[in-house]
Amino acid sequence: MSTMAVDERIYRESRPDAYEVAVVEKRVVVGYGFWIFLLSDIVMFSAFFAAYAALAHATAGGSSGVQLFNQRSVAIETGCLLASSYTCGLMSLAVTSRRYALTYLTALMTFVLGAAFLALELREFAGMIAIGAGPQRSAFLSAFFTLVGCHGLHVAAGLVWLAVMMSQVAIKGLYHPTVERRLLCFSLFWHALDIVWVWLFTVVYLKGILS
């Protein structure tokens, strides 16, 4: 076994780099490409975060975060998204071990928790707009709705993606390499959205109620 490994290393080292590239699994290439996309997506979020932080006090005489944000609702939203990230991780394990029932169950839990998050967020938005604190009210609220709304839009897109993936699992099955790769990308996407939310609830909501 060890001599085989040594032979392998010598063999690999004697080959040009192009060979190394050629033998990389497609799963690694696709995953890496999606990783780069996610990082660029997070760079886009960072621009919205910077805009929000610069405009956080520009309320133009309107309501500020202290009056608008409801900590209880934010805590529940955070819990939903964190739990759905966890069930998404369990789904990856179920996919790897090719358990259909467990995959559907964890996907359903991920979907329901994500949808609960989105419903709470939409209710919060509707409540703010109803009391005249819509995105057109002040620079602070424009930045708030852009930043939080953009994250919400990502979550909504993720829910659609998850539903599509489950129909693909039903039709093509878990042994289909394309389905497997897409599920890997979905779980990366979902975990990345949770990381963005960590910064959102810290910077927007928790720091918002301080000032």
Binding site: Y32, L39, Y86, A139
Partner: protein
């Protein structure tokens, strides 16, 4: 072809022989991550509402907790490690963090500087970003 691949897809748990993982330990990793993230989230909400810390300390504490929780998510949910099969992913991540830091810190520095340079005359107050 019996090649030992030296790269691993982001999000995949390590498949190197010395850190071989089975399903139950994978479950354990996610559960530890969930527990840590819950503790850190609870601490964040506590820090934001406590009167035990001085004013600057609250903001600093929240930032530190957010960075810690981001680390927990990366390690336990996305399986980012320092392993040799993960170098490409970590390098891309490091580049992303660099750009994010430049964008956020750069923007805030420039905006704060602009606000400082503005005339503090009373009639200009409404035009200022911060008042």
């Amino acid at each position: 072809m019996t090649d030992t691949h030296y790269d691993r897809a982001p999000g995949d748990a390590s498949a190197l022989p010395d850190v071989e993982q089975n399903r139950s330990s994978g479950l354990l990793v996610y559960t530890i991550g969930l527990a840590l993230a819950m503790v850190l989230t609870a601490m964040s909400f506590w820090v934001a509402n406590t009167s035990l810390l001085w004013v600057g300390g609250v903001s600093l504490g929240l930032t530190v907790l957010a960075i810690a929780q981001m680390g927990v998510h990366l390690v336990f949910f996305l399986h980012v490690t320092t392993g040799p099969d993960n170098t490409n992913n970590v390098m891309a991540l490091a580049f992303g963090v660099l750009i994010v830091t430049l964008v956020v810190v750069g923007s805030l520095l420039i905006m704060a500087d602009l606000n400082d340079s503005m005339m503090p005359a009373a009639e200009l107050m409404n035009l200022q970003m911060q008042h």
